[in-house]
C-alpha cells in the first residue's frame, strides 16, 4: 500500500506542474493588465508602463514563469498587488475558512445523503422513499446561491434567528457558538445540491446490492433487517459510493465560490473572484495552484480509501 501511495504522489507532480503552466498562461493571455486595473481612470500609457515596471511585469513571459515557479518552490508565492500582503499568508488565511465551510458541507452531504439513500433503498416505493426522492430532487434542482439568498431573507432578515453573513460577529463573538451560527446557513445551502446527488447514487448503489444473493442468504439466516441493511449492504455499497463522494468534494469546493459570495464567507473562492476582477495575477496563480494541489491530494486519498475497502482495487 505504501508503494501505491508513493506512486500516486509522484504521478501528481506533472499534474500540478501542468496546472502552473496553464494558470500562468491564462493569466498572461486574458485582456486587461493589473496596472490598468489599479490606475482605473488614470491609466495613461505612460502611467501604465511605469507601474508595470514597478510591479515587475515588463520582463519576458518565460522569465516571469521561471522566477515565479522558482520562488514558489522556496515557499515564496509573491506579494498580492490588490491586498499588499504575501500571497501565501492570504491563501492560508482564506483556505482555513473554506475548509471549515466546505468540510462541514461535505460531512453533512455525506451523512444525510448516504442515510437518505439507504432509507430509500431499504423501503423502496414506500412513502418515506417518495418523500425523500421529492426533497432530494428539489435539492438538486435549486441553484445553491438562490437557496442561500432565500435563506438569508427568511432566517436573517425576517425572523432574525441567524446572522446574515461573515464568519464571526464583528463585535464580540469569536467563539464556537458564534461560528456555528454563522456557518449554519452557508453550510446547508452548499450541502443541499451535493446531498441530493449522493442520496440518488446511494439509493441505486444500495438497490443493486440488496438484490444480491448473499443478502437474501443473510435474511434467510434470520439476521436482523437493520444489520442486513447497515452491516452487510451498506458496506458493500460504499465501494461505489466513495468515488462519488470524491467527486462531490470537488463540487463542494467549487460550489463554495458562489456561497462564499452570497454569505461573504472569507474563503478562498471569494478571494479568487475578487483577485480575477482586479487582475491580481500572483494571487490568482497562487490560489489556483494551491486549491488544485489540495484537490489532487484529496483524490489520491479517495483512491486509497477505496483500495482499503475493496481489496480488488490496489497497487
Amino acid at each position: 500500500m505504501a508503494g501505491y501511495i508513493l506512486k500516486r504522489l509522484l504521478s501528481a507532480i506533472p499534474v500540478i506542474l501542468g496546472i502552473t503552466v496553464i494558470v500562468f498562461l491564462i493569466m498572461a493571455m486574458i485582456p486587461g493588465d493589473p496596472a490598468t486595473a489599479i490606475l482605473g481612470s488614470y491609466a495613461t500609457p505612460e502611467n501604465v508602463e511605469k507601474l508595470n515596471r514597478d510591479l515587475g511585469l515588463d520582463k519576458p513571459l518565460a522569465q516571469r514563469y521561471v522566477i515565479w515557479l522558482g520562488n514558489m518552490l522556496t515557499g515564496d508565492f509573491g506579494r498580492s498587488f490588490s491586498l499588499n500582503r504575501p500571497v501565501l499568508d492570504e491563501i492560508l488565511d482564506r483556505f482555513s475558512a473554506t475548509l471549515i465551510l466546505a468540510g462541514t458541507a461535505f460531512v453533512l452531504c455525506s451523512l444525510i445523503g448516504i442515510l437518505a439513500g439507504a432509507i430509500s433503498a431499504a423501503r423502496q416505493y414506500s412513502l418515506a422513499d417518495k418523500a425523500i426522492t421529492f426533497v432530494v430532487l428539489i435539492g438538486i434542482s435549486v441553484p445553491s446561491f438562490f437557496l442561500g439568498m432565500m435563506m438569508i431573507l427568511l432566517f436573517a432578515v425576517k425572523l432574525r434567528w441567524l446572522p446574515v453573513s461573515g464568519m464571526y460577529a464583528i463585535y464580540g463573538g469569536g467563539d464556537l457558538p458564534d461560528l456555528l451560527a454563522h456557518l449554519a446557513m452557508p453550510a446547508l445551502a452548499l450541502a443541499a445540491v451535493a446531498t441530493g446527488v449522493v442520496a440518488r447514487l446511494s439509493r441505486s448503489a444500495m438497490l443493486e446490492v440488496l438484490r444480491q444473493d448473499y443478502i437474501r442468504t443473510a435474511r434467510a439466516k434470520g439476521v436482523p433487517e437493520g444489520r442486513v441493511v447497515y452491516g452487510h449492504a451498506l458496506r458493500a455499497a460504499m465501494v461505489s459510493i466513495i468515488p462519488v463522494l470524491g467527486i462531490q468534494a470537488g463540487f463542494v469546493l467549487s460550489g463554495a465560490v458562489y456561497i462564499e459570495m452570497v454569505f461573504q464567507w472569507p474563503g478562498v473562492g471569494r478571494m479568487l473572484v475578487d483577485a480575477i476582477l482586479k487582475r491580481d495575477i500572483l494571487l490568482v496563480q497562487g490560489g489556483v495552484v494551491f486549491v488544485s494541489a489540495c484537490y489532487v491530494l484529496f483524490n489520491i486519498a479517495v483512491d486509497v480509501a477505496q483500495g482499503l475497502l475493496d481489496p480488488r482495487i490496489k497497487t
Binding site: 490598468t36 482605473g40 433487517e225 478571494m271
Partner: protein, 528 residues
Amino acid sequence: MELWNRSRGPAAAAALAAILTSAAALGTAPALAQTPPGVLIVGQIAEPKSLDPAAVTAVNDFRILVNLYEGLVKYEPGTLEVAPALATDWTISEDGTEYTFTLREGVTFHDGTPFDAGAVKFNFDRMLDESHPFHDTGPFPLAFFFSAVESVEAVDPLTVKFTLSEPYAPFLSNLAYPTGLIVLPAAVEAAGADFGRAPVGTGPFKFAEWRSNEAVVIEKNPDYWGDPAGTEAVVFRPITDANTRVAEMLAGGIDMMVEVPPVALSQFQSDDFTVSEQAGPHLWFLILNAKDGPFADKRVRQAANYAINKEALVGDVLEGTAEVAAGPTPPAFAWAHDDALEPYPYDPDRARELLAEAGAEGATLTFYVTEGGSGMLDPVPMGTAIQADLNAVGLDVKIETYEWNTFLGEVNPGLEGKADMAEMAWMTNDPDTLPFLALRTDAWPDKGGFNSGYYSNPEVDALLEKARVSTDQGERAELYKQMQQIVHDDAPWVFVANWKQNAVTSSRVENFSLEPSFLLMLKDVVKN
C-alpha cells in the same frame, strides 16, 4: 430494527412541534445582530488594499483613510472648495510656482510624535523622489498628481515650501485629495512595505486592528487637536455582494452602507432608516468618435444628444440616483460650473432633422458598452436604452460588450477604425482634470491622453491651457465657463448623467452627511 418506526411517529411529530414553538419564541425575543452603541459599523464594498494613502487609488479605501489621516488642506464640508487642515494658512508666489504653508501648532501623530515640516517633506519626497530610501514602499500610482512639484523644503518646523516646475492651478485641490494625506515618517521607516497595515496619522481616529476580510477597526483619538470624534470606534466591514450588503442593513448587522443599488432603495423607505444623497464631481457620458464615421459631423453628434432620453435613463434605469448632465463640468464644482447651461432636451424630431441635414439617416454605429466598472453605474441597461433611443431616430446601433479592464484596453487607445461611441465615466477632484485629460488636442491617445474620440478645438485648448496656469479662482471660473459653452455646442460627447452618491443609515445614527467629494467623514457622527 425498523428503519422508519411507525410507532415513533407521534413522538417525532411532538418533538418537531416543540422545536418549532421554541424557534418561534426566539423570533419574538430581541432581534439578533444589534450593534453596540458608540460603535459605528459601516458596510463597505470591498476589502481595502492598504491604509497607506500614497499607495491606494480606490474611493473604498479613501473612506477609511480620511478618518485616520489629515492633509495640509481639505475640502470645506459640503463643497469642493479648499480649506485649511494641517496647514492654517498659505501664500502663493506671483508667478504661481511657490506655495508656502504655515503649519498648525500643537498637532501630534497618534504615537505622540509632534507633526512638523520635516514630516511633510518626508511624505512628498517618498512619493516623488526615486532615490528616496523609502520610495520602495510604493508603488505610488497617483504620485503624478504632484508631478509638477520640483522640491519640498522645510523652512522651519512650522513652515514648508513647495516649488513647482511650472504654474499648476489644481495643485491645492490635489493636496486636499487623499493622496496628499500625511503619514508618520517613523512608522514608514519601522514597517516598510507593511506600513499600509500599521497606519499612523494625525486624524480624529487611530488605527486599532485589521482582521483580513472581516473588518478594519479604528478608535477615537483622545489626543486629537480639534473636537473629538462622536463615536468610540468605527468598524469597516467589506461586503462585496450588494444584495448581501442590503440584507445586512435590513437585519441590523451594520449601521451604515454606501453605494446602495438603485433597485434596493425602496426597501429603506421606513422610519428605521435614513437615505442620504449627494451629487458629486462625477460625469457619465458617451465618447463620440469625431475622427471617422458619422460622428465626424457635428450635426450628427448633436442629433445623438437630442435623441437620447436622459430623463428616462436617470429616472427609470437609475431610479433617480443621478441627475441629467448639461455639459462636461459637473455642477458639484459649484464655482466653476456654468449654471446657465441647459441639458440638450429630448427631441427626437430635431434629431431626425439634423440627421437628414447631415445625410446620416440609417447610419450603422458600433457602440462599446462595459459590464461594470468604477463610476459606470448600470452600464448594460443604460447602453441598451441608449441603443433603443438611437434606433428610434433611424440609427442602427450595434452593441459590443466588454468586461471593465478589457473595455479600458479597447477605449483608452482611441476609437478610430473600431467604434463610433463608447460609454465612459469620470470622477475627479478638480474641474481642470477631466477636460484637460480628455478634451484637448494634445490629449489624443497617441499623445498619452484620454481624448479617445479625437475632439479638437483650438479655442478649447487655449482656454484650458490658460486656466491651468492661473492662480486666481475667479479667472479660472470664467475660463471654464467659456469652455463649457463651446464644448456643449460642439458636442464631442453625449452628456448623460451626474451620479448622486447614496448611503443608508439606521435610525440610531445621527449627524451624518455625505460630501460632494464622495469621501466619508465620520468624525461628528454619533451612534446611539
